[in-house]
Symmetry: C2
Subunit: 381 residues, 2 copies
């Protein structure tokens, strides 16, 4: 096939209720949706080799612009051939705008219409993040899917605060689009981010304005920040109908297996979350039988693997007793094995979700698995 | 082949000067000597999957009795099927006696003829280690090669102190042997440990007494504890001639690549050291070109791999710039990749040593590689 005009596109393959099965086609490969993107914060999905992430079934990973801009620096990554080459991930990469982590990690932040100035949490150095600089960094990294800079507020917030942040985010979306159009390579994509807190009217206004900009995809931002599962779902229900059917929809920073299943039922196509790797480093495993906390002493003598039927060697070949020992002893291998278990489980979950949509039995799939996956660790696990 | 009478044996295949190429045959597989045993302190070679250790070329790993007795406990490991099953290592395992780490890690130690009492550095619990208990623990773990309990003194030491420790160690060797004979499974082996500080007459007395006990192999203990490279080598030169040619010889806790090369030249067959994994966790890589400290800023923009010709993916496929970034960022993957690089390098070194002995060009091999391997990091690496 000729490689001369690489393009970015989305095609819808089937639906089951509002749940969508599709494919995002990028010059670096196809992303099967609904998709979960493992988070490679600082150019590595923590405690995993890139081959493991790929073999687990991930089509795309996420990189964090804030972390990478501070260390090793986007100009350096560009000189070294871009983020794909740097971290040895040849599939598509999505980068966030950096805005969320500036707000949650950086020091001495000052917001203005222009952007946000802050000091690095690593070395105290001063930086400015604007919509244009965010796109410049994401372009230097070589991200296949780039995100507009937005303002993400804490919830609950006043309506005035939510309006102001939403409207600023729209102006930043326009500036991001201009910057992206000036820099983008063929086949790269820019996503806008719907804001508006939990106010459905604001969400609609935000979505309508972004859709009018004709971006490559649309994210729902500002959720999973403490508003609760039901509020998140009702906000999604009021938002996705205002997004075009022929563009991918991305729910940022979500979430638990049940969050993902319910968001897919409301028309979301893409997810990212640190949960599988972070939980793994803290001793929690995700399995089809539910969550298992390997730090718990009741696993100390248990010779069973986490899941004898798993395709992941870490879930299949090591005893719970050994995993418990590794966690208690603070051994690297504990974090390595459980991050692997969880990354593979999340990809297995997405594959099962896609299969259920293809077979138009998505509601039954959710009903079958939801209770077990959401339960606290049970006595028989 | 019938499996009914598994045995432990050593056969010498060739020599080059005093350097020996051989094979230790155990029921769990052949150990090609000279051999380097990666250290799996607490039931895991730190930051590596067991498959990586095997594929790197290791025939045998070492487990630490002191760590495993405190956590998860030898009786628990035995209930779970033994250490091989627990840590998923199907090849031979050697365990130390625990004595060295009782001396270096435990609190409130009290020595007596009977043994040593101490408090755990993990939880303060009180324990007693005797020659009999050490063998009992090693048997519960299922170690293929077990070590006698000995008293390892700090150097320099008075002659009186060295004599007393050496003689106590001989009495403990006798008790270890009786305990081992009462417990050992067919094909398991017990090694004695030559002590005597840097006094060659004491070393000879120790060696002669141990050889008279007709053990399965002989270790040289109490070296690499601060006496210096040259003193270590001269002590070895005065010790190995008193050990039988038809038994394996093990230099405990050694060492650098050059230490190993020089000790092989003095008739040593087996080594263990935490250096490859500990150095890896601290950013130091071993290569045929010499040591490389990846934490150094001069690697930040270097697109070259550590060793493009390596059989180890970690040395071949990742840039020095990326490895530098991972170390600076404290990412798990940095420790994982460099522990892998070094474990593979040590096994490659042993394979090259064995090949050079087979071809009777061992002195030339040492001369060819010694300077580069011992140099501090050079400007062209």
């Amino acid at each position: 096939m000729p490689d001369s005009s690489p393009t970015f596109s989305f095609r819808l393959l089937s639906c089951s209720g509002s749940a969508r099965r599709g494919e995002i086609v990028t010059p670096r490969g196809i992303i099967r949706t609904p998709a979960f993107m493992p988070v490679g914060t600082a150019g590595t999905v923590k405690a995993l080799y890139p081959e493991q992430v790929r073999k687990a079934g991930a089509d795309i990973v996420l990189g964090n612009t804030y972390h990478l801009m501070l260390r090793p620096g986007p100009e350096r990554v560009a000189r070294l051939g871009g983020l794909h080459e740097f971290m040895r991930w040849q599939g598509p990469i999505l980068t966030d705008s950096g805005g969320f982590q500036v707000m949650s990690l950086a020091n001495l932040r000052e917001m203005s219409e222009e952007g946000v100035t802050f000091r690095s949490h690593v070395d105290g150095s001063k930086h400015q993040m604007t919509p244009e600089r965010s796109i410049e960094i994401q372009s230097l990294l070589g991200a296949d899917i780039q995100m507009q800079l937005d303002e993400c507020i804490e919830l609950p917030a006043t309506r005035e605060r939510a309006i102001a942040a939403m409207e600023l985010s729209l102006r930043w979306a326009e500036r991001s689009k201009r910057a992206f159009e000036a820099r983008a390579k063929p086949g790269q994509a820019l996503f806008g981010i719907v804001q508006g807190g939990t106010d459905l009217e604001l969400r609609q206004r935000s979505a309508d304005a972004l859709v009018a900009m004709d971006l490559n995809g649309y994210a729902v931002g500002g959720l999973a920040v403490g508003e609760g599962h039901e509020v998140m779902l009702s906000t999604l229900e009021g938002t996705t109908p205002h997004l075009p059917a022929d563009k991918p929809r991305y729910l940022m920073g979500v979430g638990t297996p049940v969050d993902i299943m319910e968001a897919v039922a409301r028309g979301i196509d893409m997810f990212d979350c640190v949960m599988p790797t972070r939980s793994g480093r803290h001793g929690q495993a995700f399995t089809w039988g539910g969550k298992v906390n390997l730090s718990n002493a009741r696993h100390a003598d248990d010779p069973r693997p986490l899941d004898a039927a798993s395709s992941c060697p870490a879930a299949r070949d090591y005893s719970r007793a050994y995993l418990h020992h590794l966690m208690k002893s603070g051994e690297y291998l504990g974090a390595m094995l459980l991050s692997w278990v969880n990354t593979a489980f999340y990809q297995d979950l997405m594959a099962a979700i896609r299969q259920a949509i293809t077979e138009d039995r998505y509601d039954a799939f959710v009903a079958e698995h939801k209770a077990r996956l959401s339960a606290a660790e049970g006595p028989n696990l």
